[in-house]
């Protein structure tokens, strides 16, 4: 065996000597598999239903007795919409769980349970309808779960980053603190790293924080105008950057290469004035039409008088805008393929088809907060 082969063996062994803590994969695998199975069966059933309906229609047409049929919505999105109304959690099936006077300002459904921030700005966890405990301080900004929902990062008032790994079996989360980054804002996860945004006199700058190396010095990379949106499904970051003709370009960015733009598309018809929820208010021009990335990074929703969804998997090869969701001033992604706009839940199927359903009306003046799910 030559030296290179020996070095490869030693290097592979060294790189895998320490395995980071991992939750039981079955807690993700089973729900995902069941969801796929349910959709497969529903899709099959709806395909059969369509064939039956078309056959019946054809029969009626031949017989001269044509009657219109209601639109088929085989897989209504409402079954995944969870919300907090005043101080009650309202499950998709209508079950109401009191949160005992806690005013919730942020909430997320993850495989381990429900995460939420209360009026005391604590990040709390609830499992099986029972409050478990506080996990991390959530004092400065909304916590950010990882795409699979098993990790969460937040900051406290002094700018210290806190991160936790949720455990499916134990009721606690392991967590650690990472050096202070005052004024920095969490953009999102990138594998085992977290991307931070900071605002300077000349614009925005970004840094990649390795949570396993708390003392590592941050290398800030500045672009000024670029607004990063979040992690894609394929190991890079999505962002927006003003184009030469006063619109916006969609950019694909490599965080590990000092946030270098590796690809851009400027002819997608993105509005020039966009507002990214959760982004520090800079520059002032960024207060415009709402733009938001879905929790898994597959879709970009844009509201500019109408609500359109761009399938990012094909944005650079065959750009495809998906229409059909009702427009309103604000919308919220509640699942990887579902958003709530006004009082309607709207699900985008991988085929580009849209199914929507009205949500139950809430009492006038009620405080409604939609729960976004991660990893489900």
């Amino acid at each position: 065996m030559n030296r290179l082969e020996t070095e490869l063996r030693e290097m592979f062994a060294a790189k895998t000597r320490e395995v980071p803590a991992m939750s039981d994969p079955m807690h993700i695998v089973l729900p995902r598999a069941r969801r796929i199975r349910r959709r497969y069966r529903t899709g099959l059933a709806s395909a059969i239903a369509v064939v039956v309906i078309l056959t019946l229609l054809a029969g009626f047409r031949i017989g001269g007795h044509f009657r219109s049929t209601p639109p088929v919505s085989p897989n209504p999105p409402h079954d995944s919409v969870e919300m907090i109304v005043n101080d009650e959690l309202v499950r998709p099936d209508g079950t109401r769980i009191p949160l005992r006077g806690r005013q919730v300002t942020w909430a997320a459904r993850v495989p381990a349970g429900l995460l939420f921030v209360d009026s005391d700005q604590r990040l709390l966890e609830m499992r099986e309808d029972r409050l478990i405990h506080g996990i991390l301080p959530g004092e400065q900004q909304s916590p950010v779960p990882s795409r699979n929902g098993w990790r969460v990062v937040t900051t406290d008032r002094r700018g210290t980053l806190f991160h936790g790994t949720l455990s499916a079996t134990a009721g606690t989360a392991r967590h650690g603190a990472v050096g202070r980054h005052r004024a920095a804002q969490i953009v999102g996860w990138y594998g085992q790293h977290v991307v931070l945004r900071d605002v300077t006199d000349t614009g925005m700058r970004y840094a990649l924080v390795d949570l396993s190396h708390p003392d590592a010095e941050l290398g800030w990379a500045a672009d000024g105008q670029m607004v990063l949106l979040g992690e894609s499904r394929r190991r890079f970051y999505w962002g927006l950057k003003p184009s030469a003709d006063a619109g916006q370009c969609l950019v694909r960015v490599a965080p590990e290469r000092r946030f270098e733009v590796v690809e851009e598309a400027c002819d997608l018809g993105l509005p020039a004035d966009v507002a990214i929820p959760g982004t520090i208010e800079w520059p002032s021009e960024l207060s415009g039409h709402q733009v938001a990335l879905s929790p898994d990074g597959r879709y970009l929703a844009v509201e500019d008088g109408r609500l359109r969804v761009l399938d990012l998997d094909t944005a650079f090869s065959e750009p495809r805008w998906i229409a059909g969701c009702p427009a309103s001033e604000t919308f919220t992604w509640v699942a990887r393929d579902t958003l709530v706009s006004g009082n309607t839940a709207c699900r985008v199927e991988p085929s580009g088809r849209v199914t929507s359903e009205s949500l139950p009306p809430q009492p006038a003046g009620a405080r409604v907060l939609y729960v976004t799910s991660y990893g489900l």
């Binding site: 190991r235 590990e256 290469r257 690809e263």
Partner: protein, 171 residues
Amino acid sequence: MADDPVRDREFREFVSVRAPALLRTAYLLTGDWGHAEDLLQTSLVKVYLALHRIRDWGAIEGYVRRVMVNTSTSWWRRRWRGELPTAELPESRVDPFDGHAERETLWRQVLSLPARQRAVLVLRYYEDLSEVDTARLLGISVGTVKSQASRALATLRVRLSDDPSVVGGVS
């Protein structure tokens, strides 16, 4: 799909025992622990949904590894070329006189290889599979395994000999 409770239980037991080892392999295929977790979960979902088609239960680990390799290759194809994923920040300098630094350099070069070549190296030099077993797991011929491994090693030799942080070169 796994509607059989016995198979379901066996699959759970298999995952609880073998997940750490599979995660290590996934890490070597992706170069990032977070993405490794995603790869492992995605692969387990695929295998779970196909459990009813698996006749030889003893070969299930091989199935999972095969799905992991194919999935990581497909992910690699869909992203742009030229990326060099690394756990280290680009501005962190390596000490050329440090063995650890050389290892990191080798790791970065391995990650820059095409996914299929990287998978062959991982299976041959981490999993210690023979050329025949590697070919069987990847569903390719032994000749292709040999040529992929040879091409990968040749690429590494060239790149490492060009890298000033590697002392003494490689053979």
